[in-house]
């Protein structure tokens, strides 16, 4: 299955029955898969007039208590920021997919990781965070999309799957999770479904005219974010324990990094390990700091001009040197380039033989 299709099918299996979206390459197969299959499951697919509308339809549907999803690519994700900020304020759960392409502006169609800042640092106005999950294979993408709906509901928070077009277009075998019946999902007593016999009305809202009230909302949000940090931080390592050097990479870039690491281990006999953040927010700062402190140096590889590297530097806090190699604009680093970058970092961070 293609990564895009795997994510779409996993969402349906997670009980998602509402999809609102707008076409943009390289995400369109996800949209088209939903258009083709949502109705079979009694769900609704709607092509909105813009990403602005799509995300606001998601807002309405999420507020009405539904499992709902949208998917887009970078320029569309920019347009969704308004709605995402409102969803953060109103604490609405939903799952979004951003298949990142090169920017800024109209950019290009090739894979990139240059929306990292926008995805992990808020993106829209106000103090808020999305849970950001970055799969590195179609299988993991399907698994994370499936789980993302539960995470979103648990915290009443938007969960973003940050993908790239290598992942979205890759064709790999995928084992799909079992279908879940939306009727069996936990109730959402806060949803606006009509007052019924309730005395009080339910209101989905992010307006607080009194500063103290808005402060209270923000306090509550920040407490929630601390809870998410404690409970939802995800990462994966390969050969990182006891490694002399660490490479940090996420998404498809992590697969390229792994190939490079294997090559230098084989050819140079160096102990280099991979640290792969899966949740980009919450960022796995503590486990990374622990590993980094036991190493001689860290190299961050990205398909960007250097965005996640800032979080790595914050995590490492100067304990060891942090180097960066990245390419952006849709140019994917070659394994050979990654190998060279690792060798450079090793040379620069290894004690000079004369000082041993």
């Amino acid at each position: 299955m293609k990564g895009n299709e795997a994510m779409a099918e996993a969402a349906i299996r997670a009980g998602c029955r509402y999809f609102f979206g707008y076409p943009i390459t390289p995400q369109s197969e996800l949209l088209e898969y939903m258009a083709k299959h949502m109705a079979e499951h009694g769900g609704v697919f709607l092509q909105a007039e813009s990403e602005v509308s799509a995300i606001n339809m998601v807002y309405g549907a999420a507020g009405a208590g539904a499992r709902v999803m949208t998917a887009t690519s970078s320029p569309g994700f920019s347009l969704m920021q308004e709605g995402i900020s409102y969803m953060a304020g109103a604490e609405l759960p939903a799952v979004l997919v951003n298949v990142v392409r090169g920017g800024p502006g109209l950019g290009g169609l090739q894979p990139a990781q240059s929306d990292y800042f926008q995805a992990t640092k808020g993106g829209g106005h106000g103090d808020y965070r999305l849970v950001v999950l970055a799969p590195s294979s179609p299988q993991e993408a399907a698994d994370l999309v499936y789980e993302a709906f539960d995470v979103a509901d648990r915290y009443r928070n938007v969960v973003l799957i940050l993908a790239d077009s290598i992942l979205a277009q890759a064709m790999e075998p995928v084992e799909l999770p079992p279908p879940r019946d939306p009727a069996g999902l936990p109730a959402k007593p806060w949803a606006t479904v009509g007052r019924g016999r309730r005395q009080e009305t339910n209101v989905v809202n992010s307006l607080y005219l009194a500063a103290e009230d808005l402060w209270a909302l923000n306090q509550r949000l920040q407490a929630k974010y601390r809870r998410i940090e404690a409970e939802e931080t995800r990462w994966e390592e390969e050969g990182a324990e006891g490694a002399d050097w660490l490479v940090v990479a996420y998404g498809s870039m992590a697969r390229i990094a792994l190939a490079a690491i294997r090559q230098v281990r084989r050819e140079d006999g160096l102990r280099v390990g991979l640290f792969r953040p899966i949740s980009l927010w919450p960022f796995p700062a503590r486990p990374l700091a622990r590993r980094a402190a036991a190493s001689r140096g860290v190299l961050v590889l990205e398909m960007s001009a250097g965005q996640m590297v800032e979080d790595v530097r914050l995590a490492v806090e100067g304990a060891v040197p942090v180097r960066f190699f990245g390419k952006t604009g849709g140019v994917v680093p070659e394994v050979e380039e990654a190998v060279e970058a690792i060798r450079r970092m090793v040379a620069e961070t290894a004690p000079h033989p004369a000082h041993r």
């Binding site: 709607l46 909105a48 602005v52 509308s53 998601v58 549907a61 308004e82 409102y86 009305t201 809202n205």
Partner: protein, 249 residues
């Protein structure tokens, strides 16, 4: 004795609205609430409040409500209605909200024939942000951003929303009423009722445009403001039903 006035259970009796004295936003609220009550649908209605003077509408209506971003109410209502097709879903929007920033959302909701009802308050300016030009501001009308009066060469012409939407196939019901005197208020209520009726019968998109006063920003006494609607707004925005499906009474 026959009661002259009774509160509607569609509005919360424990709330005092923040609207300015003489503003007909309050009348529009009352009409919508009465209609929902009379149709017996208060318990299965979900409203969408927009950004503008009516931003706090969810504090006043006794129905579940969502607050939408500026202009996006029709998209939010679409999301709600698609999840809850058997509920009554309405938006309450001003002219800045609906005809400027939210023009794409309203046109496409109407074109889709989305089975929702839109209550559209046309007061020919941006009330909440203190009286700037709206798309509906009359030629020559003074606002804080057209201090010499709206000059169409510089600021374009007013938009007749009901007529604009009437060019589409999607809408089932379109009408324009006015809130400037009792007779017109009663007529507006009939329009609102038919709009909701159309939705309940599943006929598709319905919108009622209501000419409404803004004495504060027009710089007029409340009574003068009603006369301004009658004498200035009505000629530009003719009243009546533009589209009404067969069988909706």
């Amino acid at each position: 004795m026959h009661p002259v006035f009774e509160p509607t259970s569609g509005l919360r009796a424990d709330r005092v609205t923040h609207y300015c004295p003489g503003c007909t936003h309050g009348v529009a609220h009352r009409l919508v609430a009465e209609v929902l009550e009379e149709l017996g649908v208060l318990e299965r209605t979900v409203g969408v409040a927009s950004v503008g003077c009516s931003v706090l509408a969810y504090e006043y209506f006794r129905v579940d409500m969502q607050e939408a971003a500026h202009g996006r109410a029709p998209a939010v209502a679409t999301g709600i209605k698609r999840v809850l097709p058997d509920r009554v879903v309405f938006t309450y929007q001003g002219d800045g909200d609906l005809a400027a920033i939210g023009m794409a959302e309203i046109i496409h909701a109407a074109a889709r024939g989305e089975n929702i009802t839109v209550v559209f308050i046309n007061n020919a300016n941006y009330g909440m942000t203190s009286g700037q030009m709206a798309p509906t501001t009359l030629v020559g009308q003074r606002t804080t951003t057209t201090p010499a009066g709206r000059d169409p060469v510089q600021a374009g012409y007013p938009i007749r929303v009901a007529e604009l939407l009437n060019a589409l196939d999607g809408p089932a019901y379109l009408a324009r009423g006015s809130l400037h005197d009792t007779a017109h208020i009663l007529q507006a209520k009939r329009y609102i009722r038919r709009a909701f009726q159309a939705q309940i019968e599943g006929r598709g998109f319905s919108l009622v445009e209501l000419l409404s006063s803004c004495p504060t920003n027009w710089g007029l006494e409340p009574v003068e403001a009603l006369a301004f609607i009658r004498d200035r707004l009505v000629p530009q925005y003719p009243l009546g039903e533009l589209r009404r499906p067969e069988g909706v009474r």
